[in-house]
Symmetry: D2
Subunit: 358 residues, 4 copies
């Protein structure tokens, strides 16, 4: 049996829609029939050759999937049933180590190139093979399953970042009601970040910063921001200070990750504040040593999310605490993928786009 795939044979060239043979499943493996595959800028970076991993061609990209269990190996428990809707955590790892044993599978084995597409799932395809049922998260109750695919990365990554920030704030106990969290960069991920702050930390206030008015406005609809700051038009530090008045800025979630965002927004933090880096726009950033020490800042990197984190994100979505359907503003068919990538490269689309198979 055959299935359609968007295959890449050379970087920076168009994808070709080809037919592959459906793989056999054995052991813990699960074959998933794709419902949706979110279009993520990481794929664009790979396509552009900006990622240091040597690709094996034909390359099948896509790591933000949802789908239905189509077939399962003999080592898969009964609770995983054929036809069951699932999200999939693509943080596949080769062997147990202290990270996987502590529930951080996505940190477990960074060099791993287990599957087509480097670290990727390969869901720009009608089917994709998951190495173990352990990476599946039940998705019953999630409407528009194709759109729910974005939870597997765009929804997941900010959730872990948010939890990192909250864990520091909870341990230090310096944050007071009304204190402020700044979300920097309100693209696909930032919109989710804003939602988590507004809905899961109601004692804190939210400020959104970006360089695009329309993105700020769009993101603002998903949360309850105190202020929208266009860092191109106004001095963001002054704008934050004005908004904050006598309240503290206890956390920044930086979904851009450029030299400029880091060196700018870290200065907004109050003593004991936490700066979470998620974006990867540039290779390096400069931090102020004196302020970091004298104000005991915590600068934390946050990577994607673990399987356990994805369980929680799915749970929040089922509970109506995360709006993912509104975030997805465009559905593409698989054979439109080249057009979709061009659109992604332009960077003007608000929210998130998916390749939909429904």
């Amino acid at each position: 049996m055959k299935y359609k795939v968007a295959a890449l044979h050379e970087l920076r060239k168009p994808f070709k829609i080809e037919e592959f043979d459906l793989p056999e499943v054995s052991g813990e493996q699960v074959l998933v029939k794709t419902a949706g595959c979110g279009l993520c800028h990481s794929d664009l970076h790979i396509w552009l050759g900006e990622v240091a991993v040597a690709p094996r061609f034909p390359l099948v990209l896509g790591h933000e999937p949802s789908g239905y269990v189509a077939a399962k190996g003999g080592g898969v428990p009964e609770s995983i049933r054929v036809g069951m809707p699932v999200l999939v955590n693509g943080g596949y790892y080769r062997r147990e180590n202290i990270y996987s044993l502590r529930g951080a599978n996505q940190l477990a084995d960074l060099e791993a190139q287990m599957w087509a597409g480097g670290i990727h799932v390969g869901c720009y395809a009608e089917y994709f093979l998951v190495p173990s049922y352990r990476y599946l998260v039940p998705a019953e109750g999630l409407e528009d399953l194709d759109k729910a695919s974005v939870l597997s990365d765009a929804g997941l990554t900010p959730y872990r970042a948010f939890k990192h920030a909250m864990a520091i704030l909870q341990a230090r106990q310096y944050a007071e009601p009304g204190d402020i969290v700044v979300v920097v960069g309100v693209g696909g991920l930032g919109i989710f970040g804003a939602q988590y702050v507004s809905r899961l930390a109601p004692h804190l206030d939210l400020v959104l910063a970006d360089v695009r008015d329309e993105a700020l406005e769009f993101a603002g609809k998903f949360a309850r921001p105190l202020a929208l700051i266009n860092a191109r038009r106004e001095n963001p530090l002054e704008a934050i200070k004005k908004t904050a008045h006598d309240r503290k800025v206890v956390a920044v979630l930086d979904f851009v990750g450029s030299s400029k965002t880091v060196s700018t927004y870290i200065k907004a933090l109050s003593p004991g504040g936490v700066y979470v880096l998620i974006g990867l726009a540039e290779p390096e950033a400069t931090i102020p040593i004196f302020d970091t020490v004298a104000q005991e800042y915590a600068v934390l990197g946050s990577l994607w999310g673990s399987i356990g984190d994805l369980y929680e994100v799915a749970g929040l979505a089922k509970r109506g605490l995360v709006d993912y359907r509104g975030v997805v503003t465009k559905r593409w068919r698989l054979d439109e993928i080249n057009e979709a990538f061009m659109q992604m490269e332009k960077g003007t689309q608000l929210g998130r786009m998916v390749v939909s198979f429904s």
Copy 2:
């Protein structure tokens, strides 16, 4: 009644030994007869005019004190007795806020200029006035009380830094027995840092790095380092990797805090590792965004220590778990303070020096 003080009337000029009037004590105030006052590079930086705080002259420096209660105000509890040996936490703050209420008095009110010497105690003097008995830590059982003065900063600051690192490691649970902590910079503070790692985290191994062989050797006597790395003679990253072999580097305690130390040693960290910044050698440092995110590094600033932290340091010293007497390699008399500062500026002295009043 009069007492002797090393007074500064102009930056970068010699101290003059002068006589001041003993102040009256009232309320919660306590007058302490100085036993020792540790010579700290922060004083040198103030003296050199490198600190942005506008000094009020005559300036009395010194913020690493030990001494005996000499007089107390009416609002001081009975448990504080005249003659009692004490350490003093110089993190005086003006009014309660969320930081002091959460036990981080040294973060409470950074702009405070309550006393002669900016944020300083002013213990280069036969007596000094403490604004409240709350800053005193009982020091019974600490031999050589003049030397014990170094616990109030050189012993305290690395302890808080060590606790910051351990809290992250404890929460994440990625550290395994035999994993490594690197102490960068083994001057007065680094020697204490090395002791805390060796004695309070016996499941971890220790590597010391510096650019001076004699400092490395001296520090090595206080701990059980796996390796001494002279970063001037060998590539420190390679040396660490060779020493670590298949073990992880889970933490770096950086007592230098230069652009070079940060950008070098952060690369030694394993995923989930923690980099604690304590030193303030330079204003800025560059961190790698990709590694920080992809490996979920935590970069934490750590400032001095709270009163509660100093209680714990004093307890460790009483228990024989911190050697402070060996760290103090030179005692000066108050009237030798100019010579002492010249020696400090040269930077060749191993360990820590104190002005001793005994």
Copy 3:
């Protein structure tokens, strides 16, 4: 100058309204003109002689105050202004120790009998003296300041309990969206407990349990309970199980604290669940050893709240996240205090009552 006080000269006898001389204030002391003083069952227990502390007569009870700064000693900072509205944390302690230094003033010195009324503030009076401005929490922006008095205990105690529970859940990370917290006992404190769960932990669901239908219904209006369980009419464990279905019960907040509540509701917990004891209805409780071990339960006592906790509660109230005005269902005048105590002893009043001075 004189002020009116409800003085007790013998246990179990009526209070007498008497006039006392206004005290002088000195040092850090602050005299507060009472706005409201919440009627708390602890006062009733003292009045009934059920508390092991030997009272000194005349006894002035009342430890849940709000008011206005009327006078201040010379050691009180400028930021505390005469006329300023305040809440007061009554956890006065005699001297610093590790508990106060770590921000848990209410644990610092349990035997303390510093003031009239044992551990109590003595706010059944027109004025009361606070030993230090440090116990004051600014209350600007809190409407109906007399009613806001209930935040100082009825609002504070459940907040700390809630935070204890959340800290364990956050550290363990077993709780999933939709999991359940059971609040047992929905008197004055339980209503606040229910509010914190509903508003600050929106990812969790809430179940209320009590033995009074009208109390359940009243409390239910302040939160979004999934179910109201009358433990007198139905088997509470079965009712919880039915409500929870396939979701876990991750925490119980027990505001009753009887042998029966503990041994009943602890069985509802899922593995890793946390049982917070707040109520003191009976001296002892029986816990199942096997379940506690095999399911790694955490049973935590929680006492009142610290000054820092009260800052946060005041902040939540200002932010509209805690409804205290609706909780106060009855205002008494000071000269009605005997009637008020009789009403409290009957136990039929819903919500909380205050003695109001406005």
Copy 4:
């Protein structure tokens, strides 16, 4: 091919040495050639019929194993090599859930009866089958591998309990150097508990309590106890108070778990102290509600240990921080197992016994 097994066909009857067929291995399974199998009282309780799990006969007990990889299925990674020495965590679970995803596999699926012997591994046999390589912990460098078997339970269980206690103490920060941990019950597990306190928490002091002088003396050799308390001969509370003098008792690790131990030793705790329950001697215990609340005690159950915990225990053993060889005081051959159980029932053996296959 055949292998020898100590098979039980009826409770409370002698084991019979029988020959079973070696199983095929497939998928993630690993066949382990037993080196040692620790004799644990849990086995005795099953044998006596005191455990509520309905056994399936023939029953093969033993859940504290060490051994060598003998064969592996096709789904086992290369890093698991035939001949490799291993410890095995017997906390097998059927399917992922939030507990396994958060690294607490031993909590994941309590009802599981996957293998011969209920929740047990079945290592009273020359070989035993492990359902997945994930339960294996590399044991290179552990001398006397048969004796190292005791690390898989007797060494593991107290380690997790110790970590539970330390996590609370670290979060609360009330413990000061010189404060005391009491280990109650110094049988096989308690000796390990004492070691962890002495070696991994050198800032704390240790008190051992038991009802047998010879057990106290034996255990005392593995640690640095401040006092040995025979609770049969002296009032343990008074003895602890006398030893503690002005220091706090911050934790109790109770390896007995009887009504008496809990109600006795909980009273020794200082405010904020933690009581960890590990032993299961009796079904219920009574705790004092007032003290638990007013002193904010934490009572925590602790169950066995996770795979990650066993990694750490193995690491500590390799590092010489846990003495397991001295704890094993007797080796039995498999055909002596009935004699061994009689000896275990007598309860006079100090330390731990193993069935050895070397």
